[in-house]
């Protein structure tokens, strides 16, 4: 990649910052050039974010209907999935899956809830609640 070909597509995700990429200058020497982002990279990043947002929105709708626990919504909201949440809490996956059932989640004691709250970076009341309807 030549230095003039370094993409400057002003990726939204970069929030005005630049990342360093290696490109060759006019003398054929490599040097670090700042890039404000590449559209191709932005497409696949947006795709990954949209995937979590979709899962979170679905979980939120189901949590409001009472068919899943708020935990599922918060899990996706924090860009985790079942495997990752299990790893971060140290619970087995089957146990996390069980805790996603509203009736089970409602009866969890604070000690277990703390583990989830800690892994997700939330307070207990955030964890057991859902965002207001807008």
């Amino acid at each position: 990649m030549k230095k003039d070909d370094v993409p400057q597509d002003r990726a939204r995700a970069f929030e005005g910052q630049k990342k360093a990429v290696y490109a060759v200058d006019d003398d054929g020497r490599y040097r670090i050039v700042g890039s404000s982002g590449w559209e191709a990279e932005e497409v696949v990043l947006d795709q990954a974010i949209a995937h979590f947002e979709q899962l979170a929105a679905d979980a939120l709708a189901r949590a409001r209907q009472g068919v899943t626990a708020p935990l599922e919504y918060h899990m996706y909201r924090q860009r985790m999935d079942l495997t990752l949440l299990a790893q971060c809490t140290g619970f087995f996956k089957w146990r996390v899956r069980r805790h996603l059932r509203p009736s089970v989640f409602a009866r969890l004691d604070d000690r277990l809830l703390e583990r989830y709250a800690d892994a997700l970076g939330l307070t207990l009341s955030q964890l057991t609640g859902l965002p207001d309807d807008d």
């Binding site: 990649m1 910052q17 290696y22 191709a40 696949v44 860009r79």
Partner: protein, 336 residues
């Protein structure tokens, strides 16, 4: 150890950037590209057994930690590593090092670093940053992937250093304790090239090295032919592959340009012009990786008709170029 002020420099990749900065501060000028090259970390790996968000692990470099260990071992640098069972003692140890005027590398989770742009924060637990001081209850941070030094509050840093799960940092902090007086890179460069090329050319596993690139090429070709072709899932796989290749911390094109830059430096350091020629071959592979990324993104976005064969053929082309480049490099380094 020096008590010079710590100098922040932005680099393409966090681990090579962090170790380069720490070594420079200790008096050994090792560029990021040299650190990556000498560590022998360049590779390709497709590991379907390890899943991230339901998608297989795809890596363009060897596992986290290998760059730091590889480059320091080959250059004869002594490193000190500390891990902690208890977050409190981990934070106290960090404060002690900083108060003694010693910058240290830290392993952190990107997701919990508040200074990082929100859309770039995913659960990756092996992001390397440098803490070089503290002020008013905050830590002064040099994050190699950012343009400027930054700051972080203690609770956030604690969270980022002590997340659990895969690649859990366990508060890892590290710094060099002894560096050689001058850079003796000739041997290290030759050894590392031998290692990198044999991993890429003669991998014993079909999913590692150039065999791995061909493996994924065949997988992508099959995506289109499956009776149960789920286009959304397929797009996620292809997008994931491109993300691993292009996202912050790869230098773009899955480290290939960074490696080409290493070879340019190696040519000068060892007075061996052949490396300069091979460097251009690696630039070509990087350019073709980027073409793969561009087409993939267009297909994911629907701006180009989804064509799995086109992507598979391009990946095969990349594999051919990489095979040639690594063979030429091996000849240049060890004459066979």
């Amino acid at each position: 150890m020096t008590t010079e002020p710590f100098e922040h420099r932005q680099t393409a990749h966090c681990e090579s950037g962090a170790i380069s900065a720490l070594l420079r501060h200790a008096g050994l000028d090792v560029s990021e590209a040299l650190a990556l090259g000498i560590s022998g970390a360049l590779m390709f790996a497709y590991i379907p057994l390890i899943k991230m968000g339901g998608l297989p692990l795809i890596a363009y470099r060897s596992p986290p930690g290998n760059i730091i260990r590889g480059v320091t071992k080959r250059l004869g640098v002594d490193m000190h590593f500390e891990r902690f069972r208890d977050p409190d003692s981990g934070m106290r140890a960090l404060e002690r090092h900083l108060d003694a005027g010693r910058p240290v590398g830290l392993q952190t989770s990107v997701f919990w670093l508040p200074y990082f742009p929100a859309d770039l924060r995913f659960h990756f637990n092996a992001h390397n940053i440098i803490a070089y001081g503290r002020d008013a209850g905050e830590f002064l941070i040099s994050d190699p992937t950012l343009e400027m030094p930054t700051r972080i509050d203690a609770p956030s840093l604690r969270k980022a250093r002590f997340v659990k799960g895969v690649l859990a940092p366990k508060g890892l902090l590290y710094f060099p304790t002894r560096v050689p007086e001058s850079l003796e890179a000739r041997d290290a460069i030759r050894k590392s090239i031998k290692r990198t090329t044999s991993m890429m050319l003669h991998s014993p596993l079909p999913v590692i090295g150039i065999r791995g690139i061909r493996f994924v090429s065949r997988k992508i070709a099959r995506l289109g032919r499956n009776g149960t072709c789920d286009e959304e899932e397929n797009k996620r796989f292809i997008g994931h592959m491109v993300r691993m290749q292009e996202e912050i911390g790869t230098g773009g094109a899955g480290f290939r340009f960074l490696y080409a830059s290493f070879l340019q430096e190696a040519a000068v350091l060892t007075d061996h012009a052949a490396y300069e020629d091979v460097s251009r071959r690696f630039t070509d592979t990087g350019d073709e990786w980027r073409r793969f990324a561009l087409w993939s993104a267009k297909m994911v976005k629907g701006r180009m008709a989804m064509d799995y064969d086109k992507l598979a053929v391009q990946l095969r082309h990349v594999a051919d170029l990489e095979a040639d480049a690594h063979r030429q490099l091996r000849r240049a380094a060890i004459g066979k």
